[in-house]
Subunit: 200 residues, 3 copies
Amino acid sequence: MSNWIFILDIIGTVVFAISGWLTASKKELDYFGGIIIAIVTAVGGGSIRDVVLGNTPVGWVKNETTILAIFAGIVIAILFHKWLDKLRRTLFLFDTLGIAVFTVSGTQLALNYDILPVPAVLLGITSAVAGGIIRDTLCNEIPLVFRKEIYATACLLGAVVFYASLQMGLDVVWSTILSCIATVSLRTIAVWKNIELPKV
Amino acid sequence: MSNWIFILDIIGTVVFAISGWLTASKKELDYFGGIIIAIVTAVGGGSIRDVVLGNTPVGWVKNETTILAIFAGIVIAILFHKWLDKLRRTLFLFDTLGIAVFTVSGTQLALNYDILPVPAVLLGITSAVAGGIIRDTLCNEIPLVFRKEIYATACLLGAVVFYASLQMGLDVVWSTILSCIATVSLRTIAVWKNIELPKV
Amino acid sequence: MSNWIFILDIIGTVVFAISGWLTASKKELDYFGGIIIAIVTAVGGGSIRDVVLGNTPVGWVKNETTILAIFAGIVIAILFHKWLDKLRRTLFLFDTLGIAVFTVSGTQLALNYDILPVPAVLLGITSAVAGGIIRDTLCNEIPLVFRKEIYATACLLGAVVFYASLQMGLDVVWSTILSCIATVSLRTIAVWKNIELPKV
């Protein structure tokens, strides 16, 4: 099971790197800008979580898998640039799986520390969405996650389901499965039915 | 006295959460965006101070009071949305008290570490103003604090008064009172007399 | 030699503070905004590197030289404001030396921790360019470094040359010299010949 999470985590990293590169290309940044945006999109959320918890050096500086996954994402984005628009449905699936598993792994890591449940849930959501927030801020946009789709709300549901399942005595494997089903279902239904959160 | 600071600290957190929610509402963010902006406005400054000092996990993940105060602020902002415009003078008072006490508690916490006086003063100011800077940056505005009112300058005065009072042998209680009087007075007079700092 | 690095490090800090102040003046920020932008431009990159590595409290709160260098930069920017436009070539030289030495000192500090070479190189680049990225983001601009000149690419070359030289058995002094020559040469040639990276 932890191998399965590890694989989803890598997929999430690759997809976030792709989305960073594609955002950079819309803004006509140069190659260096694209690489930096891809990196911060992929590692931003986890880095903030690690720093807040005092879990330093943060994960990606100790582990070459993350860096390799990011560069794989960039190469994929460059090679398949023209096809990626047509593959939007596939990308959406990977992206949704990515945030689902980032939410679980972020929440679980936070619960390992001596912190309260609400902050642990918030740090789980942070792991999944903060990378995209930094990406949009650096590209001088109001972050997408604040404006469109029930994106972060799906992460919130997933994190709550994960924590509640653990509290009810389920093991980590089942809690993870239930959490991912919740996140993926809510986001898929929201996009399918074109549901948005009300404006403030 | 430390109870008194604790109460002012909570009031500061509530007011900052309200100001985050109101900023989000002007930008037509959705509910999730509003909640995130409220949280980062309220905890942003203290989190940066904690991370810079290596004081991790940062305060709000270990202490449920902060989270409760933020959600109280959001509920107040939602319920009294129409009246808050009319209550601007009351809000201004709370906000000014909030930054005054955030400046003191930030400076005092920094002085507990083995750091120099000037960085301690800077981290005190950071505690009070960085939340608002992050709020405005995420909402794609040049931060208000860089442009209007003698807001941060009042925090600077408060932090210097606090440090100088301690150095002159006053106890923490009196240093806190003098510092808060300095911050509140300067900001109130500046807004009242419409004084602004010269442009760079 | 380490005295020489120390001097270049101070020059880099002064020049970054000047560039922060000048950016603030273009945006018509007030004096407080100018001081904050000058500080974050000068210490932003090194602070992020320190926090990611868990090297806290971060450098500038333990060492008064950095603060003094920043205020020297601000004073220079205020006094010589009119001449600085004419001194652009001199400023460019200092700025290039500054990023060259920030790249070396950042990479070297990162290598002292138990991390991988690629993250060490990335943190060396971060030390040199993140301050400017924060400066531009706070001033509501897409960061210059993502759009113009082979600025960060020069840092990348410098960091790689430094790491490779150490690996090939050269001592720190020669590795530093080679790295700085590489960074300065690439940037100077790029600006001279008006070379830019291709757009994403």
